[in-house]
Amino acid sequence: MPSWERIKEDFPIFRNLGSGYVYLDSAATSQKPMSVIKAISDFYLYNNSNVHRGIYRLSEEATEMYGRSRENVSNFIGSHDPGQIVFVRNATEALNLLSYTLGWELVSGDEILITIMEHHSNIVPWQFLQDKGIKLVYADIRPDGTLDMDDLQSKVSPRTKILSVTHVSNVLGTVNPVREIGKIAHDNGSTFIVDGAQSVPHMPVNVETIDCDFMAFSGHKMLGPTGIGVLYGKRELLEKMHPFMGGGEMISEVYRDHSTWADVPEKFEAGTPDIAGAIGLSAAVDYLRSIGMDNVMKHGRDLMKLTFEMEAEENIPGLLSYGPRNTDIRGPVYSFSIGEIPPFGVNQALVDDGIGVGTAIHPHDVASSLDASGIAVRSGHHCAMPLTHRLNTVATTRASYYVYNTEEDVRRLFRSLKRAAEVYSK
């Protein structure tokens, strides 16, 4: 097992922010190890030029580095063919690419099945298709925060053309049984999409074992730079699809009235790509591999176990946390409320029984209070409003862990939470 204290030293931001700084918002974006920051700088210092078609040495080097980054990412997620890796900006773009390109083939009455625990990025792109008469169907969760597989199964129908689910929920931490869901999808002839934004950074992921048709994830959540993300897609599907954006690099030939496309994956990469971003992501993959994804996963689970222990020990009044307690099916994400804060809607009336809702402390206050102690957590709907409402609340506070977090971070979270609960209680 690696030394996690040692690993934290690879992330220079902690030296710069002061060693006491506790960053618990990695589900939003991760910090970057020096090797990633250096890979980006080095590209600009030594190799910068545009990729494709340049026939001078510098451009050929850049093209090769870009291609090697693609291979590296491909290997990392168990794809046997780098042609299946499309570089995009982020998971969101990957899912929009699918909504546009797969959407072209859908007709009124077709259904897209997702789950109530999806991130907005796996909801809104599909809502765009509603104008065409396509129906968006939501599979529900069970009270323990796991996906209700019976409900999902019952909502699969011959009209279900696409089944798109998150691998790990960014609010509940639930790890969904994607192999099983994929089987349901494929038995039904549906295209199976996995949102891997919260899984690829935190656990070993193999797209061929999962047998998903597509997977989306973001570099910036896995120690890589902002601006780069990945769409994995099975080659034969990518080859059949219409391109998403048109322009340079993605064409083979352009005539006045028609064009022909480059081979995959270039067909989906219009314009100058984020070359430095891809190289930075590849450095992040190297770094994660050097720790070992099994170790990364185990560390996350260990911190979650400690979290549950601290939760029991500190016994903060009104604290309610979400998601499965079994750390075997749990990503390193801990969302909670202190007191209940149900949603407030247009037809509701306010009551004059005192400020706030009972003894609740608003997540914004929790986050501000923790921030004052040098602990960064996120509060709000975490880009999952339908789920937040399903949990009968309007916002939660979320602490999320990664390789640079330590047991001491978890303990400090709970000590500060306890103090906040005292300050804000009335």
Partner: protein, 130 residues
Amino acid sequence: MTDVEEKTEILMDHYRSPHNYGKMESPTAELLEYNPVCGDAVQMFVKLKGNMVEDVKFIGRGCSISQGSASMVTDMARGKSVEEIMGITPQHLLNLIGLPLGPSREKCALLPLNTLQKCLARLGRENVKI
């Protein structure tokens, strides 16, 4: 005690024991505004006498900033003319609160002032005799 600590104390006092809290019988105007994203909600009640705010009350739910600010805004509004209230700038309220609020929390702080001003503006538009 630093200035920020002092200002925090003041706001927290308003949050814990809000001034002018409660519904009002037959107000001249009332308005409920809320932010669906964080659930903060404020309902303002105003009683005018001529052009002057004779009484103002609020009820609400939400974070310490939105509710503490609502309490401070109602204190500030009482006895002022409609024009004076319409002239209160967001920056004035933020200065009064005096805390280094980030952009997200400024929205919370300004909800009560926005609600009160909207409520009064609507009165004008609806041509209610004021």
